[in-house]
């Protein structure tokens, strides 16, 4: 009977699931179970953080039965209560369908999406109610803090250093070394900062941790504060992240009530408190010196870092600034010891990394894998391959600072150093999968457009260089490019990289340089043949129907928004180029792939 009473229904209320009405599902469960007095089992319903597999939300988990239901709607609640809660039966149609094994799977843990994963930073997400501190404590929460308060600061720093943990925000600087340097400066007060200004397009791992397990970040920051001798910390969080702000604020208040924050923490005599600063929506504020300027009440412009933040950071005082995911790794390292952490991953890159696997991949979501996992494992085993089994073209990693990796490197090990070597970077962990319908010149243009908006304008090379690269790329995608443009792009890219002050400018040319390196043919096709094979650059695209393949089903002409397609039933159809607006609807709808993409001029 005890076991029965401990049954829980966990309803994911991360941003992805909320958009699919998961909160209504949660309310319906609550209502249903309160109404139905025949149920002697009283399941506990919790709104949990993100389960990672956002594509299949809302996700509902039933414990300890270990049943996971996906795409649950309000209408399914009755059936789940009747069958699963009352009679211990599973509702098969809501189970996860594994695309690799072509089977429905009862527990999400057996799904290939979750199988290759190892959760450290995401250990609690989807398992606890982020606003219930007891849930966190039940899963070893604040145990690391208790242990740390009985250690000396040197011991803690040594533990982090030996673990081999490197900053998860992008550059991969050794965390222990950062703490140690800051510890050595005897200039007080010192500060601890959490960088929650996640801005890389296509990355949402920090958002999920802040929403789903805010206490792990808080605990990591308190431990650091104790180790370096700081009494105050700030969490700089993007203002757009409503739920993250709410949950972190709630967690701070809970932690204060329980004596984990505030004066004389757990009777150790150590004082520490945290404050949230809302970001203003500037990408450059993810850069540490810009972020610090923003907390101080200035515009977020970076400064030259001749003097590091560990010596003179916030208000010119020694400061440790780490990324959300880095903080979430600290408590398990303290509890399990550095040897445990060092064993995970590969030499020089220890532990796990959270990736947000997005784009043209079957299973979109958050994935945490040991460092050294290959790109192929990530995209195919965990991600389930490309949507519609189209050909893989590239992945983009590292956000606007990163690069595009072609299929030749599918077996590359995902770690800081390997990615660096081929001109991309780990960045915060966004992995954007692209297929043959993605145009690489357009991708480069997209990033230059993004960065030209986000450059703070302090350095001329960054402000003007990016804009000029964008203009050149625009010309190429509009059919006005010339072959010399390629050399010019390389030259400007090199200048921007060398002459800019901060990380944004220094890495800004990467998307252009890597696409030029690995997809030069595509640039040449745009420039010389005036053709975009992916059908993305509209000026360089035309559609025509291959009469040998057309079966005359009339689907294309029925769906054409401008009536540009003519032809009678069972006869080959024809697109009138003068009317066609190149929307591509016909190509998407054609059951026989008879609609072909041509260059600027119709070929057939």
């Amino acid at each position: 009977m005890d076991k029965v009473n401990n049954r829980k229904i966990l309803v994911c209320c991360g941003t992805g699931c909320l958009a699919h009405n998961s909160y209504q599902v949660y309310l319906e469960f609550k209502k249903k179970l309160e109404e139905d007095t025949n149920i002697d089992v009283r399941p506990i319903i919790k709104s949990t953080g993100c389960n990672g597999l956002c594509e299949k939300g809302p996700v509902v988990k039933i414990l300890p039965d270990e049943i996971s239901y996906f795409k649950v709607s309000v209408d399914d609640v009755d059936e789940i209560v009747e069958k699963t809660i009352k009679n211990y039966e599973t509702v098969d149609r809501l189970l996860y369908f594994d695309v690799n094994s072509k089977k429905r799977i009862k527990s999400h843990k057996d799904a290939s999406f979750y199988k290759g994963q190892l959760k450290i930073a995401l250990r609690n997400i989807g398992e606890i109610d982020p606003l219930n501190i007891d849930d966190y404590i039940e899963r070893d929460g604040y145990k690391a803090l208790r242990k740390a308060l009985n250690m000396s600061p040197e011991e803690i720093i040594r533990e982090v250093e030996l673990s081999g943990l490197r900053g998860r925000g992008g550059a991969g600087f050794p965390t222990g070394l950062k703490w140690k340097s800051c510890y050595q400066y005897k200039d007080y007060p010192k500060y601890v900062i959490c960088n929650g200004d996640e801005g890389d397009p296509g990355a949402f791992m920090d958002r999920s941790i802040m929403e789903g397990d805010p206490n792990s970040i808080i605990e990591g920051m308190i431990i650091c504060g104790y180790a370096i001798g700081a009494h105050k910390g700030f969490l700089y969080i993007r203002d757009e992240y409503d739920l993250a702000l709410k949950n972190v604020q709630g967690a701070i208040e809970n932690a204060r009530e329980r004596g984990f924050l505030g004066k004389n923490i757990l009777n150790s005599g150590f004082d520490f408190d945290l404050e949230i600063v809302r970001g203003g929506g500037a990408f450059v504020c993810g850069e540490s010196s810009a972020l610090i300027a923003s907390i101080e009440g200035d515009v977020g412009e970076p400064r030259a870092k001749y003097i590091r933040n560990v010596e003179k950071g916030l208000w010119d005082k020694p400061t440790v600034l780490n990324n959300v995911e880095t903080w979430a790794n600290i408590p398990p390292i303290i509890i399990n010891g550095w040897q445990w952490f060092r064993k995970i991953g590969i030499e020089g890159n220890h532990g796990t990394k959270v990736f947000s696997l997005v784009g043209k991949v079957q299973n979109t979501g958050l994935v945490e894998v040991p460092m050294g996992t290959t790109l192929r494992e990530l995209v195919y085993d965990i991600g389930g391959g490309i949507i519609g089994n189209r050909p893989f073209k590239a992945v983009q990693t590292g956000g606007p600072s990163g690069g595009c990796i072609p299929k030749e490197y599918l077996d590359i090990s995902l770690d800081f150093d390997s990615l660096d070597q081929i001109g991309s970077m780990m960045g915060s962990g966004g992995v954007i999968v692209m297929d043959d319908t993605t145009c690489m010149v357009d991708v480069a243009k997209y990033y230059m457009d993004f960065l030209s908006e986000e450059s703070c304008g302090k350095c001329t090379s960054c402000r003007e260089g990016i804009k000029t690269m964008l203009d050149i790329l625009k010309n190429i995608t509009e059919g006005k490019g010339e072959l010399e443009d390629i050399d010019l792009l390389l030259e400007i890219g090199e200048t921007v990289r060398k002459a800019s002050l901060c990380g944004l400018g220094k890495t800004a040319p990467n998307p252009v340089l890597t696409t030029l390196k690995y997809f030069r043919d595509e640039y040449i096709e745009h420039i010389v043949d005036k053709r975009c094979a992916a059908g993305v650059c509209k000026e360089l695209t035309s559609y025509y129907i291959d009469s040998s393949q057309c079966i005359g089903c009339t689907i294309c002409s029925q769906n054409c928004p401008v009536g540009a397609i003519s032809g009678s039933l069972r006869e080959p159809h024809v697109i009138d180029e003068n009317i066609c607006i190149k929307c591509g609807t016909c190509a998407n709808k054609c059951p026989r792939q008879a609609v072909k993409i041509g260059g600027m001029k119709v070929e057939a």
């Binding site: 958009a19 949402f204 958002r207 809302r278 500037a282 009440g297 997005v358 979109t364 966004g430 954007i432």
Partner: protein, 155 residues
């Protein structure tokens, strides 16, 4: 006029570091940052008006122009971009007759193109008044906008 901002501004200590927070609160309350509000903060914090203006124009979350009743944010993150955010944008321009940063004449809608909203599984996604509309197609878009227009007419 000043008393409008008094409560909002005085909630914070007289320290420069709260400038952004004050501006964000005003943005939230008014939908934009009026000149008078900047003057009030400048006086309260004893900082030059140029500093407040610098902040108000630097951060994207702040706007000097009034916004519409519903702010439509179109995500232009990479995942959305490669899953067709461009055609969503175009369609919105057609439906609303405005470009990013503009407001419709009836004051109902403002349009913003924003960087990644961190909801990539829903790509392409737009947000209207904190409600997410994911995996959008051009066809669905019109009915979403019509819902808001309808709500105006029929209450």
């Amino acid at each position: 006029m000043d008393h409008m901002y008094r409560e909002l501004v005085h909630k914070y200590p007289k320290e420069k570091r709260y400038t952004l927070a004050m501006l964000q609160d005003i943005q939230r309350q008014n939908g934009f940052i009026p000149k008078e509000a900047m003057e009030y903060i400048s006086e309260y914090l004893n900082l030059p008006m140029s500093h407040i203006y610098h902040l108000a124009t630097f951060y994207k979350a702040l706007s000097l122009k009034p916004k519409g009743k519903y702010v439509i944010k179109v995500c232009n993150g990479t995942a959305c971009h490669i899953r067709g955010a461009d055609s969503i944008k175009e369609e919105l321009y057609n439906i609303l007759g405005i470009k990013p940063g503009e407001t419709t004449e009836d004051g109902l809608f403002s349009l913003e193109i924003v960087n990644c909203l961190g909801a990539c599984a829903l790509a392409p996604v737009i947000v209207i008044d904190n409600k997410y509309y994911g995996n959008l197609t051009k066809e669905e878009l019109k009915s979403v906008i019509d819902q808001y227009k309808g709500a105006e007419i029929y209450g």
